[in-house]
Amino acid sequence: MSIALLAVQTIIIILLAPFIQGVIKNTKGRLQSRRGPRYLQPYYDFLKLLRKDSVISPTVSWIFHFAPYIYFATAIAAAALVPTVFTFSGLKFDNLFVLVYLFALGRFFLAAASLDAGSSFGGMGGSREMFISVLVEPPLMLALFTVAFRANSTNLSVMATTAAASTVSFSAVLAAVAFLIITIAETGRIPVDNPDTHLELTMIHEGMVLEYSGRPVGLIFWASTIKQAVFILLLVNLFVPWNITGIAPVLTALWMLLKVLIVAVLLACIETSTNKMRLFRVPGLMAAAGVFSLLALIAQ
């Protein structure tokens, strides 16, 4: 029974992820005095990409073919782990380290594949992606551990339950801000990376996947939106969790969706209001996130 519920929840997250991306893009458009793309545009993009053929360089090896699938697979597995409306501790695998390192697995293969085509764009993108991942990892651990210490466990479901029972406090706000910065870094949004362009100077994630075309691009694009959704869900459930108790799960789900959309709009506002940072200023930003997390820990 719980497996079926888990599957349903995962499928819903996977299906809703492009919608969140659409909301962000639309909001950005509106803030830039444009009409902005439709909310459902990412779905159309994905369906279009699923019908396209690929142009593949003869330099590549099986890693290049394998990487998008493994990236998508880890994104789905992460979506199954993340605590949303229902938490499933019975299956015993939703540990926060598993989540973090599943993403690392996907990123490893994608970065390796970026070197595979033998182009400088790919190499630069891969190098910068690993660079950003190195910088993000300590603040990510720090931020997640502020919640983990309170819950006295590294199990995501236990952490979510404990967080849901907590109240607004200064340390929670600090931790939330820190995790917001980390979300921006992990999902490749301005000010860390520009998800809209495809020039080597402004792209990190996009540069890494420059050589892909057709269906793999669709898979990677969808996996990125799932990753974004997972991080927003983590932010919402662990750091700003204040649920209304005592109502039916459907209403809890709707409340959660509302919070997610609010965060999406917030992300869009942040993206519009600032510009992309120089690459070597990102360590400073990550250090700031780390300091916020430490302060949150101290203030607990």
Binding site: R51, D53, L115, D116, G214, L219
Partner: protein, 674 residues
């Protein structure tokens, strides 16, 4: 009795293996097969021995060699059996690998190398089992000397001899400290037998001295920063299967020694012991992997990663010591289990990686990854096994590196229960963050190493002419990869072994540690909370996701794939357009520039045409602060002192006789006046 016989058989096989080249000197092929075959058999027997000891119980084999050493006992208890198991697995792989790899050495004194290799295996087996102080120091020295000879085997290449000298110098400094520690213990307990050493009553100050001497002594052999300077020199200089044994097992004998000291001889000590070990461990981890990222010699890179992983092992050990000192036996068991499990895992995947780099060396005759590339098409199996090793060392699920790092993370997570208050939480969270940092850096480093070596186009002629390596090498690497995957997806059996290993020491309660495990999950119960990890479920989730991805990709029919060359602005792409390894690591080098202090030396060769076609060579050096700040002043001071002393040596015979006369007269006067 069976165990005693197995032990003697394994030792005998190694001895036979080291003597056999004498008889097969005529034919290099026969030497190769016979010596390495005997080594393989010896390692297989060692595995059987270890498993039987783990199943039946402690066992002691006693030899008597007369004065002055007296009775020598070889004790194979659970701890020794655990290390012997790791030794056996890695040894089997390395020996089988050596059969194929030694073809490169047919003209290079193969008989000597095969004999020394067997002697090396023999000495390691002895070190792990001998339980008498003097005999232990003797076989420790034997191991050092044999590995010195092996490191120096290709002494024609520049740099190998100085690397070997540095290695033996540092190891002997370590052995001196180990000797001091052992002697202090032995005089206090008035016995030379390991089993009775813990009964000695040492006062507080002496216990601290013994602890520090053991830490420095074994730390030199293990490669803990700041005593690690020999590791990046010695491991690349040795032949590849020897490097695998050295990095996989020999530095683990140092961890074995530390475990004996901290678990058995000394027992629980004050808290600052564990904290000191934790500090050294985290420094080793972070700096080890940072320096590894800056290397583009494949074996030096792997050697620095050994430093990093020793740091991770010591994180578990240090946390265990802290828990022991605070009287939290279950958590101590968890932490020690994490450290010891990482010993096994590191042995397996590090030797896999060294064997892989040896295969690359065999095929292309270069270790410089800037000259490699595109090897995945020429050496597909090697690339696959190297990829598995790289994924394991980057702690990616579902391989074994992830499981032991997960256990280490959990041990560190529970650290605030030992070190109370805000300080405990901060210290624990800083350690966890830095450990995460090392994991991410290791991942970046291996994307670089694997990507630049195997992917894209070959960057030099040597890489273009590579072919797949002989079958025995592939079999060995494949075996180790299988162990990696197995230990990652089903770690329960290893953890059950660790439970047995740790259950016999004071201050640790391992008996009930992992009892809630089902067939698909490992779970531990600590003081207030537990942790759960189900690797097979993760694997299943990933496979399901994979299937979904494939389904989506095939939704609109099978994709048509056109071939189109990589876009390089219209030029035909060649290897010079690919990303270099130095370039790949450059953002990290810059971001950590304060610590690494990189120096770029740019040489522009404008001889042909000053405006167009300038040839630019860039050398990037980083400053190794520890060598600069610690070792260079010491060696400079020694040189200056020696230069002063040189003035006494005037070269004149008369002056020397004059020295003798002066001393004689002085002795005469003193002798008669007092």
């Amino acid at each position: 009795m069976l165990i005693e016989q197995l032990y003697l058989v394994s030792l005998g096989l190694f001895i036979l293996g080291s003597c056999s080249p004498m008889f097969t000197k005529g034919s290099a092929k026969a030497t190769n097969y016979l010596a390495h075959g005997l080594a393989t058999l010896g390692c297989v027997v060692t595995i059987v021995l270890a498993i039987s000891v783990l199943l039946t119980g402690n066992h002691t084999v006693a030899f008597s060699l007369g004065a002055p050493i007296g009775l020598i006992k070889a004790r194979i208890d659970y701890l020794a059996a655990y290390f012997l198991l790791a030794f056996g697995i890695v040894g089997v792989a390395a020996s089988v690998y050596a059969i194929g790899y030694s073809r490169e050495y047919y003209i290079h004194r193969l008989a000597l190398m095969a004999a020394l290799y067997n002697a090396f295996l023999l000495s390691i087996a002895l070190v792990l089992t001998i339980s008498q102080v003097l005999a232990f120091v003797i076989v420790w020295e034997l191991m050092t000397v044999v590995s010195f000879c092996l490191v120096n085997h290709e002494y024609e290449k520049t740099g190998n001899t100085s690397a070997a000298y540095l290695y033996i110098l540092m190891t002997h400094i370590g052995t001196a400290f180990i000797g001091i520690a052992f002697l202090l213990l032995a005089t206090a307990a008035n016995t030379l037998d390991f089993e009775l050493l813990k009964t000695g009553a040492l006062t507080g100050m002496l216990r601290n001295v013994v602890f520090l001497c053991a830490l420095i002594g074994f730390g030199t052999k293990a490669g803990v920063i700041p005593l690690h300077i020999w590791l990046p020199e010695a491991h690349p200089a040795a032949p590849s299967h020897v490097s695998a044994m050295m990095s996989g097992i020999m530095i683990k004998t140092a961890i074995y020694g530390m475990s004996r000291f901290f678990l058995e001889f000394l027992g629980a000590g004050p808290e600052w012991w564990g904290q000191l070990v934790l500090i050294l461990a985290i420094i080793s981890s972070v700096f080890g992997v940072l320096y590894a990222l800056m290397e583009h010699d494949l074996k030096r890179l792997l050697a620095y990663h050994s430093v990093e992983n020793i740091g991770i092992i010591l994180l578990g050990v240090g946390a265990g010591m802290v828990f022991m000192s605070k009287g939290l036996p279950v958590l101590a068991a968890l932490a020690w289990a994490a450290g010891l499990y990482h010993v096994f895992n590191h042995a397996v995947f590090k030797s896999l990686l060294f064997l892989g780099s040896g295969a690359v060396l065999y095929a292309t005759h270069t270790k410089d990854i800037e000259h490699l590339g595109g090897l995945i098409k020429k050496m597909p199996y090697t690339a696959l096994f190297f990829l598995i090793g790289a994924a394991a060392i980057s702690a990616l699920p579902p391989l074994n590196g992830f499981v032991s790092e997960w256990l280490t993370f959990q041990a560190l997570f529970f650290l605030p229960q030992a070190v109370g208050g805000l300080v405990g939480k901060l210290w624990s969270v800083i350690l966890i963050a830095l450990l995460g940092l090392t994991g991410a850096l290791a991942g970046a480093c291996f994307v670089k190493a694997f990507g630049v070596t195997f992917l894209a186009k070959p960057r030099s002629k040597k890489a273009e002419q590579a072919t797949e390596v002989p079958g025995t090498m592939l079999v060995a690497m494949g075996f180790l990869s299988l162990v990696c995957v197995a230990a990652g997806v089903w770690p329960q059996w290893m953890l059950a072994i660790l439970q047995k290993v740790l259950s016999s020491y004071a201050g640790i309660a391992a008996a009930s540690l992992f009892q809630n495990s089902d067939w698909y999950a490992i779970a531990f119960q600590a003081q207030q909370a537990g942790g759960v990890l189900a690797m097979p479920v993760v694997v299943i989730m990933v496979i399901i996701g994979f299937g979904v991805a494939v389904v989506f990709a095939r939704l609109a029919g099978s994709p048509k794939k056109d071939a189109g060359e990589t876009w390089t602005c219209g030029i035909i792409p060649n290897a010079r357009m690919e990303y270099t390894a130095t370039g790949f690591a450059e953002p990290i080098r810059r971001a950590f520039g304060r610590v690494l202090n990189p120096v770029d030396v740019v040489i522009a060769d404008k001889s042909r045409n000053p405006y167009h076609g300038v040839k630019i060579t860039i050398h990037v050096h980083i400053t190794h602060y520890i060598s600069e700040l610690m070792y260079r002043p010491v060696s400079n001071g020694l040189y200056t002192f020696a230069n002063y002393l040189r003035k006494i040596q005037a070269g004149s015979l008369q002056l020397y006789i004059g020295y003798i006369m002066a001393v004689t007269v002085i002795v005469l006067i003193i002798g008669t006046r007092w």
